[in-house]
């Protein structure tokens, strides 16, 4: 036996040291879940239809131009569903020419002609190209959201694609607890454009349309101005094509105007700056609208050519609003709108309360169990106590070592494991007592006790392990945390009961110089 101890004791000490190094200091090494440290868990869906629709809109414009160029007649071009275009009133005798044009310029579409009562050409995206646009939209959204979160300065965020079609994005943002602001920031499209204003703004759309006898020319559009507190909305007639857009931005940050009002200062890229310079040069004296997410933010006069590709966006911003706008502009626009389908926010104060309650419950449970075991098993109770402490150290070590996350159910799992891990000890102790009762010597009672208890312990723990594994597989968030602790706890308590406890008994026998076990 003593030969065994020569390598077993150092092994146990070694494992303990590794585990302590792994989790010490716990405040830095143990990762806390969002439910304990406070933070936001968000699952959002990228509405990829938006991106497909945007592409279809572009294609409709392109198609109109091409048909005009080739003098092919048509009545209307519409988009009945996001992925297809319907052309009516085509010249049925020139079917071939249409077909050629579609084949040449719309290779991502399948063109079909349906005669019927209203003959029409239908251009549908091939499934492959629809998938491509959706995939692109999700990737770009992921990238944009990642940029925005990075700009936000969140420590250890999780940003992952999820779901069968992969159009979901999971966000875990520790330490943030202002759900309104965060959600606003993330879901904001932030599409920025500079467009030339035609004529003067008016309080209603109808007034603007009157100038054009009610029909707006194809190259113009009417947009609403941003609402300012206490003022009526204004509408602007604008050039449809943008002079520069958010894609030409190099940088944006919060600044101040001459009245100490917060604004957003931007700088354009070299190329964007050159276009901006040419454009402002050509249109001195006219008004240039800054449009954010299809609302005219402001429409200042171009006093002179703007050479350096820099300027500012003003509005009635608070410091925070200006800061947030600059942030989303820096991070880029979203290619599609997003929908939140799940959101869970825990404030830091509630997380702190949970940690404290959990710790209190843990300490009280630990003391009660240890006292009880000491009374019940006397000296051997110390053995159970020591294995319990070892168990805790090993569990914490594995938890920190594998960078697993500790959640509130995880703490509950910890406490539960403390209660249940005594079981393995109890099984062994009771067996040893039985063996002693039939008159065996301490040593042989120890041997056969451990031997007989071994199978029971394994059988009894494997079933819980099976439940834990499936819980981990299908559980989410905090529940997963529970499954992790349970698994770690089962493995660690089997090791401490079967190996460590055995060694402790041998030490007890060796130290007491007697053949009598206190159990």
């Amino acid at each position: 036996m003593s030969k065994d101890l020569k390598w077993k004791i150092p092994l146990i000490v070694f494992i303990l040291i590794i585990c302590i190094i792994s989790f010490y200091p716990p405040s830095e090494k143990v990762r806390l879940g969002l439910d304990l440290m406070g933070g936001m868990h968000i699952v959002l869906r990228v509405v990829t239809d938006d991106a497909v629709q945007a592409q279809t809109d572009l294609d409709i414009e392109r198609l109109k131009k091409l048909l005009d160029e080739k003098s092919l007649p048509f009545d209307t071009i519409t988009s009945p569903v996001v992925s297809s275009i319907l052309v009516t009133g085509t010249d049925t005798e020139m079917e071939g020419s249409y077909d050629d044009l579609f084949n040449e310029y719309f290779s991502e579409h399948e063109a079909t002609f349906s005669p019927g009562t209203t003959p029409a050409w239908k251009l549908s995206f091939t499934p492959r190209s629809v998938d491509y646009f959706r995939e692109q939209a999700i990737r770009q959204a992921l990238e944009t959201i990642r940029n925005r979160v990075d700009e936000f300065g969140v420590a250890d965020p999780v940003i992952q694609r999820q779901g069968l079609s992969g159009d979901r994005i999971l966000l875990q943002l520790p330490g943030l607890d202002d759900p309104d602001r965060v959600k606003r920031l993330i879901s904001r499209t932030a599409f920025l454009e500079w467009k030339l204003v035609k004529g003067e703004p008016a309080p209603t759309k109808e007034l603007l349309l009157q100038q054009f006898n009610g029909i707006l020319p194809d190259d113009l559009e009417i947009l609403e101005g941003a609402l300012e507190p206490g003022q009526k909305p204004l509408y602007y007639t604008l050039n449809k094509t943008a002079a520069v857009t958010g894609r030409d931005l190099k940088n944006a940050y919060r600044g101040q105007d001459q009245f100490n009002q917060p604004n957003v200062v931007f700088a354009l890229t070299v190329d964007g700056g050159r276009r901006f310079k040419d454009f402002t040069g050509q249109h001195v004296g006219e008004r240039l609208a800054i449009i954010l997410d299809n609302r005219v933010q402001s429409a200042p006069n171009i006093k002179e050519q703007i050479p350096h590709g820099a300027g500012n966006i003003s509005g009635h911003f608070t410091i925070e609003e200006a800061e947030d706008l600059a942030l989303v502009l820096r991070a880029g626009a979203l290619p599609a709108s997003i929908k939140y389908i799940e959101e869970r926010t825990v404030g830091p104060s509630l997380g702190w309360e949970s940690i404290q309650n959990g710790m209190l419950a843990g300490v009280i449970a630990f003391i009660a169990i240890v006292l009880f075991v000491l009374i019940y098993y006397k000296i051997s109770g110390i053995n159970a106590f020591v294995t319990l402490v070892f168990n805790l150290i090993i569990m914490l070590g594995i938890l920190a070592g594998f960078k697993a996350t500790l959640t509130l159910p995880g703490i509950a799992g910890f406490i539960l494991t403390v209660g249940m891990s005594v079981d393995a000890n109890v099984l062994i102790f009771e067996r040893i007592r039985e063996e002693l009762r039939v008159g065996k010597t301490s040593r042989s009672a120890l041997n056969s006790g451990f031997q007989k208890a071994f199978r029971t312990i394994v059988d009894a723990n494997v079933t819980t392990l099976i439940a834990a594994v499936f819980l981990f597989q299908f559980g989410t968030g905090p529940v997963k945390g529970f499954a992790v602790i349970l698994t770690i706890g089962i493995i660690s308590s089997m090791f401490t009961a079967l190996f460590v406890s055995r060694v402790l008994f041998s030490i007890q026998l060796a130290l007491r110089h007697s053949k009598q076990l206190s159990i």
Partner: protein, 381 residues
């Protein structure tokens, strides 16, 4: 110390009483679950929105109700709990487009606490640490020539005191004075640009219908697969009749547990699924220890009847069964009493489960095993 010295109780003698008692309990449980009020699904399985708010003074509940009604949330329920100043608002709505929290907070400011917002000031109770650092560095109340990073420590201390000392909500700037190293100049400049909002969102959960569906599927899979896995394991390690008896005990435990849970009026959420699986694991653990002994005794003891062997096995393991149940109960009981309200339903489920599970491994699983064996013997005769 020992609970029972060399126990020789006739556990199986009164087995019919226990089986009848359990049968009645199960019938009552099933009746309550299916025809009574049943399990009350929480947000994970019903979807919707839950917002937990903390106020620094008790808000008028009637005004709260009016606000909810005006926001088209007539279905919303208001529950007061914890300290008096905490309120839980629940509604079936979950769509982001409705922007529930934003509309709510706006209305609260407008109608409950119109004096909160003053000019361009910001809410210190909702401030994030980065913003506070930026503010302190630009304002520089201590006129620090260098070492401005002191401000980030101060900002952290201010928020840490708010979240850990003052329960998330300052109601008076004087509370800041208790922070070690706090300078009056800092408090003065904070007062100029910040106000102390009267309420704060402590917790918010929004679960959409698609997520509900997914959680339901996942839960069903978790339970189904772990049951199959456990059954296969027992089948491999024991005889078939052991498996039947163990599963019967499990069904017994889970049914009674669920009924007790429903009766207590707790909400059924994801962690409860974990607790139920945990109970399955624990109850099996208990049963297997007894069965293991039965298996061993069937080989060792020759003369006795099957019933006597099973009874002897229960007696031999009774000390262990009681002891383990007690230590586990200490753990779960402590969790139930001291673990806080978030973990309360979870701890409750475990508490009931462990008591029922212990009972079933002694008084249900073994009798069923004996019953099965007598059936087999009768048939072979």
């Amino acid at each position: 110390m020992e609970f029972f010295k060399d126990p020789k109780y006739d556990f199986l003698g009164k087995r019919n009483y226990f089986l009848t008692l359990s049968a009645i309990l199960i019938v009552l449980s099933l009746g309550y679950l299916f025809f009574g009020d049943g399990v009350n699904p929480g947000i994970d399985f019903a979807g919707g929105t839950e917002i937990e708010l903390k106020f620094n003074r008790k808000p008028e509940i009637s005004t709260l109700r009016n606000i909810l009604k005006d926001l088209d949330m007539a279905d919303a329920s208001i529950q007061e709990f914890g300290t008096e100043n905490e309120i839980l608002i629940r509604t079936k709505e979950s769509e982001e487009s409705h922007n529930i929290t934003e509309r709510l907070t706006d209305e609260f400011y407008a109608r409950l606490f119109p004096d909160d917002k003053q000019g361009n000031k910001q809410d210190l109770n909702r401030a994030q640490v980065e913003n506070l650092v930026v503010f302190l560095e630009t304002r520089d109340p201590l006129s620090l020539v260098e070492g401005k990073d002191a401000y980030s420590r101060i900002a952290e201390a201010i928020l840490s005191q708010r979240d850990k000392g003052s329960g998330g909500l300052y109601s008076d700037f004087a509370e800041l004075k208790t922070i070690p190293g706090m300078d009056d100049k800092i408090i003065e400049s904070l007062k100029e640009s910040y106000y102390l909002g009267s309420f704060k969102i402590v917790k918010e959960e929004i679960v959409g219908p698609s997520v509900v569906k997914e959680l339901q599927t996942k839960t069903a899979y978790a339970i189904l697969f772990s049951m199959i896995g456990i059954l296969i394991y027992i089948w491999i390690r024991f005889e078939f009749k052991f498996g039947i008896a163990a599963i019967a005990a499990l069904v017994h435990d889970v049914t009674i547990c669920l009924a007790a849970f429903a009766l207590a009026g707790h909400e059924f959420n994801l962690p409860i699924v974990a607790a139920l699986l945990m109970i399955i694991g624990y109850s099996l653990n208990d049963t297997i220890v007894v069965f293991d002994r039965i298996r061993e005794n069937l080989k060792v003891i020759r003369k006795e009847t099957y019933l006597a062997k099973v009874n002897a096995s229960i007696n031999q393991t009774i000390n262990r069964t009681i002891l383990t149940s007690l230590t586990t109960l200490f753990a779960v009981g402590s969790l139930y009493v001291f673990g806080g309200r978030v973990i309360h339903p979870f701890a409750f489920t475990l508490l009931i489960g462990i008591i029922v599970g212990t009972y079933s491994s002694i008084f249900i699983a073994s009798p069923i095993l004996v019953f099965w064996q007598t059936l087999i013997e009768k048939r072979s005769r």
